[in-house]
């Protein structure tokens, strides 16, 4: 058992871990063992960031900037740079990451390897759509510059490639310009899924960011009720001054909570309170960056609330015309009694990602988290898997700990093509599980 841990609480099987501080350390490191996987900030929930054996290369110390063009917004940096530090650099200069996940504590390399998406998928696609080039170091010692025009296949395999094609040592991404560090935000209380479907479609054109929080304990006529959130970067502000004022104060959960803390009562109470917090149907505000994009980052180590067994995430995508399957999923969850604090629903747009194994595609994506209750959770997930599989959908590897090889291979028909780009010395617990080695 190693020391690398995923966000859901699983442990890696590495024999040792090795921190990478300098680019020049990568090639010698790759000669020191037979099996590798990179580990960043450990925000993948399941086992996709965990080594099956050999050496875990800890990449977050490799976090220097390489260049920045203040006129075009092209930023080049080493792969261990966290989005947190990237924002600290870019926002005061009037630039923002093109795609923002739900936490800023991820490395650039991890963001690329999972081809992350955000609340603006319908406008900008995934992070991979904004990578202009990257350097990939293979266990053979080769350093390969990859982009859409150079080593295209290897580039496409590496974007969303779960770290299996080698080590991303640095990359260059196109930032987006902002005039303010604030987000014009509207929160709309929704009565059910129909309401959400319509709001998503109506907002897609004029809003950069859209997402919904769903009260997944609600049943019957309230099934799928929630809060729809949409936002645009505010205009004509002063990013540096506004960002400096935004509080970086964080709470931290110091210890693992007792297992009973989260139960169907406390989860129901939370969902109920959160839904009714907003009285009116529409509330308009200007949000700071953290509460809008990274509300959970306000509480460091929030995963400890789930206690020793840890948590399981479930994120699927299914085609836009399969709305009934989506209500079916909510129905199953509401009646399972295993509620989720954070059920997030979003409609992905049609922007294609270069990634061969990328998760996002046009349709609805739902993400849920559950306390890991062993067999009980497994049973629930199998029910959900059956709906997703029948709907021709797929699950997000970065969140997954349980999907079957069949569901993976069906959901990712490119997986066999991808397999030929996997570096012979690289593997993960996830990859062993879903590819059969």
């Amino acid at each position: 058992m190693g020391s690398c841990r995923s966000w859901g609480g699983m442990m890696g099987h590495e024999d040792r871990s090795l921190s990478i501080h300098w680019k020049q350390d990568i090639i010698p490191a790759l000669q020191s063992d037979q099996h590798f996987l990179c580990y960043g900030l450990g925000r993948s929930y399941g086992d996709s960031c965990l080594s099956a054996q050999g050496t875990a290369l800890v990449m977050n110390p490799l976090d220097k900037l390489r260049s920045f063009d203040a006129h075009t917004g092209l930023l080049s940096a080493e792969a261990g740079l966290s989005l947190h530090h990237l924002l600290d650099f870019a926002v005061p200069r009037g630039w923002f990451i093109p795609v923002s996940p739900g936490t800023k504590y991820v490395t650039l390399g991890g963001a690329l390897a999972n081809d992350i998406h955000g609340k603006n998928h319908h406008v900008r696609g995934t992070i991979g759509c904004h990578v202009t080039e990257l350097e990939l170091i293979r266990s053979s010692g080769e350093a390969i510059l990859c982009s859409l025009t150079r080593e295209r296949d290897l580039f496409c395999a590496t974007i969303g490639g779960l770290g299996l094609t080698g080590i991303i040592s640095w990359c260059t991404i196109q930032l987006i310009p902002i005039e303010s560090a604030l987000i014009d935000t509207e929160c709309i209380k929704t009565s059910g899924l129909e309401d959400f479907f319509k709001l998503e479609d109506d907002s897609a054109k004029d809003w950069e960011y859209t997402v919904s929080w769903i009260d997944c304990m609600a049943k019957g006529r309230s099934l799928g009720r929630g809060i729809f959130i949409r936002g645009n970067h505010a205009r004509a502000g002063n990013p540096a001054a506004e960002y400096a004022k935004q509080s970086q104060l964080k709470l931290s959960i110091p210890l693992q909570a007792p297992t009973w803390l989260l139960n169907s009562w406390s989860i129901r109470a939370f969902n109920e309170a959160y839904y009714h917090k907003q009285q009116r149907r529409l509330s308009k505000t200007q949000s700071a960056i953290d509460p809008f994009f990274y509300p959970l980052d306000m509480v460091l180590h929030w995963n400890r609330l789930y206690g020793k067994p840890g948590l399981l995430q479930y994120q699927c995508v299914i085609d836009s015309h399969r709305q009934e399957d989506l209500s079916h999923i909510f129905h199953i969850i509401a009646h399972s009694g295993q509620g989720s604090f954070l059920a997030v629903l979003k409609k992905f747009g049609a922007v294609p990602s270069p990634g061969m194994l990328s998760f996002p595609r046009e349709g609805y994506t739902l993400s849920l988290d559950f306390q890991n209750q062993g067999d009980k959770s497994r049973e629930l997930f199998q029910k959900l898997d059956a709906v997703v599989e029948a709907a021709g959908g797929r699950l997000y590897p970065a969140k997954d700990a349980l999907m079957s090889p069949e569901l993976f291979q069906k959901g990712y028909p490119n997986w066999e093509k991808f397999r030929s780009f996997v570096d012979p010395k690289f593997t993960s617990l996830f990859w062993q599980r879903v590819s059969g080695g």
Partner: protein
């Protein structure tokens, strides 16, 4: 000279150390002119790119092995040919060493003393004429909490840092009326390359906030800095433990 009043001129010895880089990044943000001295050309190149990107007005690098008084002196002379004025000198070169190996192997013990003691003292002595002539500036030397009292697990490293603490304290007294400030930096455990083989306990601090506190102490012209701050209280207790008890502690 108007320009140099707005743009700090900062020289960093041992610039590839994790903490030195984090400090340099803060000065880069302040548009400083940076002179970086380290052994590895490639590392210096990576650092230079980072600091230029972050806004440094200028970055000049000098490749030098700081593992001996002679080479430290000659690179200091090279630096002196390039600068007329220095606002801040940071001396960060150092090695932690493994006590068991240091006890067995005289060469590596000598090497540790060369880097941690001989070289910082040689550099400072060499820079003194310039600093006394300009009548201002800050010399910041990396000591360590380990220098406050020799502990069974790392007393050779501790001894080398105790030498720096004593040197810095005497130098500070000697220069106290000249306008030159000497800062003794005593970091606890910080998560950098130096400590990457050690387990990440709750006392391990991130380099960013530690670097911030160092720059703040330089700005305030402080004498001694424990960072993170709680180490001042830990060390207060450790230093005052009676020897009869302390000698039984194997930490």
């Amino acid at each position: 000279m108007a320009e140099s009043q707005n743009i700090p001129q900062v020289a960093i010895f041992g610039a590839s150390s994790g903490l030195a880089l984090a400090v340099a990044q803060i000065y880069a943000h302040r548009r400083a002119r940076l002179f970086l001295i380290a052994r590895d050309r490639q590392k210096l190149n990576d650092i230079e790119k980072d600091l230029r990107t972050r806004g440094a007005s200028d970055v000049q690098t000098l490749v030098a092995d700081l593992s001996g008084a002679a080479s430290a002196q000659s690179v200091t002379d090279l630096l002196l040919q390039r600068v007329q004025h220095l606002d801040v000198v940071l001396i960060a070169a150092g090695v932690l060493g493994d006590t068991e190996q240091l006890l067995r192997d005289a060469k590596s013990c000598e090497h540790l003393i060369d880097i941690n003691v001989q070289s910082p003292i040689a550099i400072c002595n060499r820079l003194l004429p310039l600093l006394t002539q300009q009548k201002d500036g800050v010399i910041a030397l990396f000591s360590s909490v380990a220098g406050d009292r020799g502990r069974a697990s790392n007393f050779i490293y501790g001894a080398s840092k105790a030498a720096i603490t004593a040197y810095a304290s005497g130098l500070r007294a000697r220069l106290s009326t000249t306008g030159i400030q000497v800062l003794t930096i005593k970091p606890g455990m910080v998560a950098t390359a130096m400590t990457s083989h050690l387990p990440k306990g709750p006392l391990m601090a991130a380099p960013g906030p530690v670097a911030k506190s160092i720059v703040k102490a330089i700005d305030r012209r402080a004498d001694v800095l424990y960072t993170p701050g709680f180490w001042r209280w830990i060390m207060l207790i450790i230093v005052h433990l009676p020897e009869a008890i302390f000698k039984r502690l194997k930490f």
